[in-house]
Symmetry: D2
Subunit: 376 residues, 4 copies
């Protein structure tokens, strides 16, 4: 198998800068569980990134995106509440039922297109708010970039946020790959794009990915209290430090608080305290675009090759003849997304993810591998 | 403050060997979530450590000891079951209610002495097994070394195991500091001690600590199916791979599965694939013994200094006049265990933990600090 | 409003025989929580009804069908397991997320037709059994009669049971209206139909409805251990009394154990210890058939009246012009099922339920009310 | 066995007036789940009873006291919160871990005397409010009358309420036997006593017992929003109807909402819409007092008879020689509270409960039975 796989952006190693930062934490002792200088700096860095004052972005470092999603939503939603997501959303398809299993919150599946929800869902679900036989729909969860490699525009996100505010609902963003979205949306000022897609769009809770973009063992849960509805706060007069303590308790109980938190903080500082997050995401996006271009060429010539969704970040979904799959997988390393896709041949669909360290040569080798089979 | 604190063994940094191993993971891509060579090796290493064949020790790597305890117990116990622990046990005092909160399992508090339970608890709780108004007492949880720095002997543990087997209960061991216990029990062959205290004693579920003994962000949940009662297995004829998949699901849902699992595996290999775990634990124990000797001297001379429990591993609980606490804490870094201890003066009790990297000079400075105040 | 509504079969009062039986419980004291003679008799009656020996049908009396469903499934499934149901199923649409909220079990929504699942779902979901990122699909839940008033045939149920056995899954039956199904399936021997649809079809867990068929405050959870897969039993050698104690604990913890259980037992004996359940269900079915006949006549003449699903028990789903709804509801009492139904006019769909006490005159009045509007 | 037992006040049948009221519900159809006239009246009756306007007492009818306690507390507390109760409290000893199991809330055990907590517990637990490793102590739960048959005075309750308010905690009252307490506290105006012990004392959540005092299958959860801390409300500007909907969802999800709710309402009206609750409780108290008097006589003469706690309601805890127990139990029907009580002989302790229908002759027969053995 070629060195770099297309299985997932978390098949890549951590960026050298990240490991270096961990090595440089040094030999000093520090109080644990986040009560140390590096941990404070990491919080400040996250707030800066989002254009917020330190107190206006409550962030905690957790082992993975599942933790960031589940702890974020369930620190606010009760077991009789519900969150509306797409059928493909990571929270419902890839977290082994954690939201329901650990904290009892139901996920409503609204129809999606290319992995994206429509803002109409508010109209669909709001009537249920007063039906005591159904969970109270109190949050909408979007994924940016989506589980199908597509993106919401800044305007679309702002629409969701407006509707959330009007209906006293929480807007949640699964940002496992939000770096890729920010860079793709505004390559010149990805930081501005990031702020527009989150703080300004009315996002109240988000996961900010790190592991998939060159991190080692860490994602970030960020809560933006100013974007939360009244009912989600701990009483109107409570300072946000009370809210923070609640989230930390939820994190600790949720098995997601590290004693040596400063090693996670070091990762965050290496990624988001510099432009590493931009460089890493930009490379992944660039390689996916290269891959798409090559595949579109083939698609034009070969009936059973089909790029399934708009390629808007670092993933390409490719339908291909089933008999190619096994040998291609062995050679290049990727996952089948659907064993049986749409269309007359019901050919399977593969997911091809590029990473912070994918090289042009990796993409070209993969294209060549597919081309050979197509021409075979 | 002196460089090395006495707050907790997790105030220490990771051992350099551990960080080195993580850096050497290299640039290759690998399938994530544990499906890689390093992860397999780590499992083998854990089985070897316990003197078991690879299939006979199901192990998964999790972010912290809380995760190892809670996921271990709750993969087997149901919400209407109960686990018997001491009132000081980490599962009830220091995990923010995770066992109850995430998986609904009740903790029964049996009386303890110096942090240790007595084997009589089986007689106390077994009658409740048929009382449908009470949780079914199906597990006993011991901590080795205990939350008060004491140890169970191998014989004591074997007694608990025998009673567990006779009553179809699970024996659970919180082994966050089991390395310290193994080294203290048999300095010449700590590996033999470890096996005697776990595999041979009938332990069915255990956490195997790493973070507190020089690890970075990882503890280990180990299940020994051969020591589990029938009801805990997935049907009598199911192979243990079925059990393993259940534990992995519980881990994934429990927010505790890392995508880049191989970086945790590297930590495990660095610690338990070598004698690093022994060296680290031995140093911590040695320094605690040195501290105890110094304090016993003072105790003999000063009415209000008192070493509270037998010092049998790497912690010393010291009662001292309340007016010393603040300045000592600032200088040496430690936690108060009880703001108001026993005795006529109701003086507070401090917990003084030594670490893998504590040096004689650190201990001597602390002793000198206390001596000065005692003589002041 | 006419005396008898069409809102739900639980809008009807309890049958006089049921209230009479409760009054006859008498003045004696008895040990509570089911340890009394009437409670034992009720268990025996339920076993008899299903053609089983007393020990082979574990039954407990609970306040409502939601309790029977949720406690039944969650006494066996773990939070990382999943149950497959239709999108309309009561467990997902009408229990306020109880299965997820109380016990963490995820519900998978398989596509349905006229409220019925297809046996193909086993093929769809079985591959997920080894995917640790997804809940383990360990049960299929069918409703008989379905939430859309249709029925599974005995053969269809047996197919589900066979597939369940082959794949070590549990077959669960929501039998809130199973009496209506049994009577409709075999009017001459409804008891035989009931046994064929449950015991013989391989149903392992079921709710046996009472409240909707003339009961007062009671439904019944029945577990048939001989139809459960190995993994669901408490070890192969455990007697079923151990299983029963587990279910009772689950019931007690699930807020569903009555102290004065004998008053529920009296209801069960009045309904299922006689033919009252047959008479009640038969009347409801007969009146629904009468209603359907009348509506089919109108349907033939009026473009915007449409009977939506086959009428196979005691409910009729009727699409009608939206402007009729309010006044009809005020006059006859029913619920809207869909505010916007299918078809060019997107007219709403009403659910019209008949009850044990619905009279011909009630049906005729409703038909007349609709006829008037249709001809208006 | 004599007709009336001493096992529990729920061994008694329902009062004839209660059954009569259920029979008189009549044959009309009504919308279910509490949307009917009788259900509205029952709410009004409960509010009246507590001296509150209808909107100021949110009440829902549930199957049992366990439901009332668990749903009340867990509608407000989160899984990382904790409630402080006595070691004997029903919520921890007799509800099969429901509070932890269904909703994840931890119970802290504070020391009690004669079943009563001391107001000092606030000082003990408040420091934990900022410790993220421990559950947030946000409620205190008292039982009136206690599980040992004793009572808090009005002043004591008011003290707890004051401290609760000062520390933003909820005061919860398990009122399964509050009728007995009210009647005992102020026999001339039990209604005034009831109001003083709840509304005026600052109780925010309570269960109001019915089943143990002549009800059939119903207890009442009452929430008094004006006595709740800010954080427990759904935002400062939300009307209490929003709070009510939350509690109803919690009830529905908690398996505790009856479709034919009006039959429970009828029970409530029969008991609390008249003075039946007073008469029933008064009789139970009177008979317990008679029993106590007789036993105190014997206690004076017989070394191994001992009335264990002050008899302040309808229960007597009696220590007696173990060899008497079996035959006495068979003759009179009661539970052993402790198989091994305090004192030199370690004799067991029996709980002897009187009921709404206990007669003097029942008490005298029991006294005679004990006397015979004492003199044997």
């Amino acid at each position: 198998m070629s060195q770099r796989m297309f299985a997932s952006d978390n098949s890549a190693p951590a960026s050298p800068e990240v490991i270096q930062a961990m090595a440089e934490v040094g030999s000093a002792h520090r109080y644990s569980y986040g009560a140390d200088e590096l941990s404070f700096q990491a919080q400040q860095t996250v707030a800066d990134l989002l254009g917020l004052k330190p107190d206006d972005a409550i962030s905690v470092l957790v082992p993975n995106g599942t933790g960031a999603n589940v702890l974020g939503l369930s620190s606010f939603l009760r077991p009789w509440d519900g969150v509306i997501g797409s059928p493909e959303s990571h929270i419902t398809e890839d977290e082994c039922g954690a939201l329901e299993g650990l904290r009892g919150v139901k996920i409503y599946h609204a129809p999606s297109k290319n992995g994206k929800l429509s803002v109409d869902i508010y109209d669909t679900y709001l009537p249920w708010a007063t039906n005591l036989h159904r969970n109270n729909p109190r949050a909408v969860s979007l994924t940016q970039t989506t589980e199908l490699g597509t993106r919401y525009s800044i305007e679309e996100l702002a629409d969701f946020g407006r509707r959330a505010r009007d209906s006293s609902m929480i807007l949640h963003l699964d940002g496992a790959r939000i770096a890729n979205a920010a860079v793709a949306t505004n390559p010149e000022d990805p930081r501005a794009a990031l702020r527009a897609m989150t703080r300004d769009a009315g996002v109240g809770i988000m996961s900010l990915g790190a592991t998939k973009n060159g991190g080692l063992s860490c994602d970030i849960l960020v809560v933006l209290p100013q974007n939360l509805p009244d009912w989600a706060l701990e009483g109107d007069s409570a300072p946000w430090s009370v809210l923070k303590l609640k989230i930390q308790r939820s994190q600790k109980q949720g098995l997601s608080l590290f004693s040596k938190n400063r090693y996670l903080a070091a990762q965050v500082l290496a990624l988001y305290g510099t432009d590493l997050w931009v460089h890493n995401a930009a490379n992944a996006n660039t390689q996916a675009a290269r891959l798409e271009r090559g595949l579109r060429d083939l698609e034009a010539k070969h009936l059973r090759i089909r790029v399934m969704y708009p390629v808007q970040a670092n993933g390409v979904w490719l339908q291909m003849p089933g008999e190619w799959v096994k040998s291609l997988q062995e050679e290049f390393g990727f996952y089948l997304w659907e064993p049986e896709g749409p269309g007359p041949f019901k050919d399977p669909v593969a997911r091809l993810m590029t990473s912070w360290d994918t090289e042009e040569a990796d993409v070209d080798r993969l294209l060549e591998g597919i081309r050979k089979r197509a021409q075979g």
